[in-house]
């Protein structure tokens, strides 16, 4: 009998413990998800976060994810001025925030103003706003005034100064930036230069509006830095106010997110699944098991699974019909350091463009890439990926496999047989499966050119810091395009770009990019851009492009419709359809 008491006690305790978890109800659509980094549209940069952004918010324009055509969003129509520099957006009357307030032109003005202030954590896409006349100047004003407060004498009341700065910042915005609220439903935007892809930009998430009252409530002056500080938890279900097709009903960190169709969304008839549940899976294989056992309807991006090639094989053989491959809008490459000196102080052999050409010509990518990357992504010859830029852009041919020419160029540069080039350092980040390709490339350079290659893998943070500061010779890299124009790739190698790890600073390239930006004729403009790309790919290469990323999605096409297979990878849950 006495034994029973502890046994029953344990059992009761166990039951209490079990009662702790409270999973969400089943949703019409369940999606496997990995890390969500942020829901603040102005700070979003990861593709997974972008998809959630488009569920919770909507810009003046939006996309058809299947074709990436620009569609009306909050704006029902827009006019473009004669000189193609002024857009006037006419907002629809029935656009509403999730709390019932009307979405007005003021909400866009406020969102763009806040995004331009350097205060609110690092806004990764602030460059999108720089297309607007005066936007960059406003950003500079904000920074200058912030620095002035920080550098003011110790006896100054810096907090009061910071509050004054915040108060002045609205008037300053109206003075400097060519964004004009004509009335609640009309917004006028003048651009620095005619920008043929501006609507594509306007449809992107960094241009989403903010609910002004919520922003005002959640923003304070930080007493350490005198920054304006927005409480980042404003995106939690209790406080977030959005204007998209869904509202955020529940978000448990790293566990699940639950979306419910918004009753205030103007286009609610178009919303397919009324509830969407995103379940967090730490590993792709866990997500795959959940899919196979019917727990989730859709898994994005299973290409990293060890057996992904077998899945593709099964699809091709007709044994499965749920494996969908998409060539993505991004390129995997090795960035070449173009600076005169390496960070060690040694002369950089790669400063000579012929050496960089030789490194390209020595690789038989058609052989190497499919052998290492068994899901067989498209081998890259140019930086810009095929598809996603429209049919009129003429991608450069790139440097093919020509080992003889590679050896000649290396000899011309004074490194015949790899002599004198010293050990060439090839860096990559640990743990992400980059090693095998790095080894294959190192082996090929050694075999074809006689160069001794030293490979080194570094922890992610260290790797990023080294790559950004030029502390490398050759480093693994990758880039995804953000909008449907070649500049989303080519701007990367301008000397002013903070993501230009190569240190490439080329007058001819910059001049061509400038000329393209000023060119009124669309066809001629694309020619200039293609010419610029030829410089960074063929003449004075800044990289060795390896392949274009491939995505593999899992979903049963008989059960789920409306999943986009467009290279740009945009997905909108409200356009999906749960069939039968």
């Amino acid at each position: 009998m006495r034994l029973l008491i502890p046994a029953v006690g344990l059992l009761v305790l166990l039951l209490v413990v079990l009662r702790w978890s409270d999973p969400s109800p089943r949703a019409e659509l369940t999606v496997a998800y990995s890390d969500i980094k942020t829901l603040d549209p102005q700070l979003v940069s990861a593709m997974l976060d972008v998809r959630v952004s488009y569920s919770l918010f909507e810009g003046l324009c939006t996309f058809d994810p299947a074709t990436m055509a620009v569609l009306p969003g909050v704006a029902e129509r827009w006019d473009l001025s004669e000189d193609r520099r002024t857009y006037t957006f006419h907002l629809r009357e029935d656009a509403r925030w999730s709390n019932g307030d009307a979405v007005t032109a003021w909400d866009f003005r406020e969102a763009w103003r806040l995004a331009l202030m350097p205060d609110l954590g690092p806004p990764p896409y602030v460059g999108f706003l720089y297309f607007i006349d005066g936007a960059e100047a406003y950003g500079k004003w904000c920074l200058k005034t912030l620095m002035a407060i920080r550098e003011a004498g110790d006896d100054a009341d810096k907090i009061a100064m910071a509050k004054r700065r915040a108060a002045n910042s609205e008037a300053k915005f109206d003075e400097l930036v060519a964004v004009k609220v004509v009335d609640d439903r009309t917004l006028e935007v003048r651009l620095k230069l005619p920008t043929p892809y501006f609507l594509d930009i306007v449809a992107c998430w960094p241009m989403f509006p903010v609910h002004r009252a919520t922003m005002a409530r959640m923003t304070t002056v930080d007493e350490n830095s005198y920054n304006l500080h927005r409480d980042p938890t404003w995106v939690h279900p209790e406080t977030i106010v959005g204007n998209g097709p869904y509202r955020l009903a529940r978000w448990v960190f790293k566990r699940e997110m639950f979306l419910e169709a918004s009753e205030t969304y103007w286009n609610r008839e178009a919303v397919g699944p009324q509830t969407v549940r995103m379940v967090h899976y730490r590993t792709t294989s866990a997500a795959f098991h959940a899919y196979e056992t019917g727990k989730v309807d859709l898994v994005f991006g299973v290409g990293s699974l060890a057996f992904a090639p077998e899945l593709l094989e099964a699809q091709r053989a007709g044994e499965r019909n749920d494996v969908h491959e998409v060539s993505n809008f991004g390129t995997y490459y090795y960035v070449l350091n173009c600076r005169e000196k390496l960070s060690s102080g040694r002369d950089n052999p790669l400063a000579d463009a012929r050496v960089r050409q030789a490194l390209n010509l020595a690789l038989d990518k058609e052989e190497i890439v499919p052998n290492v990357q068994r899901i067989k992504p498209v081998v890259a010859r140019s930086f810009t990926p095929p598809g996603g830029l429209g049919p009129d852009y003429d991608h450069p041919k790139g440097l093919g496999y020509d080992p003889d020419r590679a050896r000649d160029l290396l000899a011309e540069a004074g490194y015949a047989g790899g002599e004198g080039l010293g050990p060439l350092d090839l860096t990559y980040n640990t743990n992400q499966g980059h090693g095998p390709l790095v080894q294959a490339v190192a082996h090929a350079w050694n075999k074809e050119l006689g160069i001794a290659v030293e490979t080194s893998s570094k922890e992610w943070k260290v790797f990023l810091a080294d790559r950004n500061s030029g502390n490398f010779t050759v480093a693994r890299s990758g880039w995804f395009g953000d909008y449907g124009d070649a500049t989303t790739f080519l701007d990367l190698f301008l000397p002013t770009n903070n993501n230009n790890d190569s240190g490439f600073d080329d007058e001819a390239y910059t001049a061509l990019m400038d000329e393209a930006a000023r060119e009124a004729d669309a066809g001629r403009r694309l020619e200039l851009l293609a010419e610029a790309e030829r410089i960074v790919i063929e003449e004075r290469p800044v990289m060795v492009p390896m392949y274009h990323y491939k995505l593999i999605h899992l979903f049963d096409p008989d059960r789920l419709g409306g999943v986009s297979l467009h290279p740009r990878g945009m997905q909108m849950f409200y356009r999906m359809r749960v069939l039968n």
Binding site: Y125, D222, P232, K461
Partner: protein, 318 residues
Amino acid sequence: MWHLIGKRLVQLPLLLWIIYTVTFVFAWLIPGDPTERGEGRRPPAEVQEAMKVQYNLDNPWAFYVQYLGDATGVGYLVGQRERAFDLGPSLQYIDWRVAGIIKGALPVSLQLGLAAILVALVIGVSAGVMGALRPGGFWDWATLSVAMVGISLPTFVTGTVLLLVFALVLGWLPVGNWGGAAEMVLPTITLSLPFAAYIARLTRMGMIEVMNSDFIRTARAKGLSERRVVVKHALKVAFLPVLSFLGPAAAAAMTGSFVVEEVFNVPGMGYFFVAAVQNKDLFLIMGVVLVYATMLIVFNLLVDVAYHLIDPRIELEG
């Protein structure tokens, strides 16, 4: 006993302060820039600089003092802060504060850890007693072998095998989700196995020793039933080594196991120990370590108190 509890409670802040200081030194020395984000879109340099100023990432001493003040509630008491026990924002998961992350993950870990320790206790003690009753007999041999395997096999092996057999091949249990009781079975068993094995060995050792002692002979001589002898007299004494193991074991089980979490997709704390360090997410590192240290100290105190309750002869020294 009250003396002991009082003494330990006085020691607690001192211990936490030492742990805080040591952790801070190591965390600060992790190479890399905490403001760097993974996705590769880098903000202008001035913006990154401003962020460092905002979070004291440019000044270790200021960070050390301010975080200590915020986390202990001193900053709140002197009226500088709106929140007491503020563990700061996460630099990597920018929508969340460390307290929010721990609030989401810790209950899951507590739930899994508590269940695992309970299962381990039941399995471990029964196996240990069974083995000790006839040392060298079949049951002794069998339980010892199983315990040996349980201790030796890492959880990523047992977890994966259990997952493969019971979830994928037999299809009896669901995988890769967290919520219902069925989902808890496999991770609980996996996490409990090493603890169960250890408890079994401790119980067996204790029982064999106790069963040969004089008071057991006396108990038998009194004519008590064998069951009563084992349960009432022997087990109570033999359980003491198990009890002292339970404190750190419970703390270890309840603060999460990275491996078990990875294998079964459990949204617990273990992940953040690893991720925080990898991302040099200073606030998260300090917050998670402080919470873990507090739990460890409190569990050890609870064990000492339980010791005293089971065997009042034991002198409790602080």
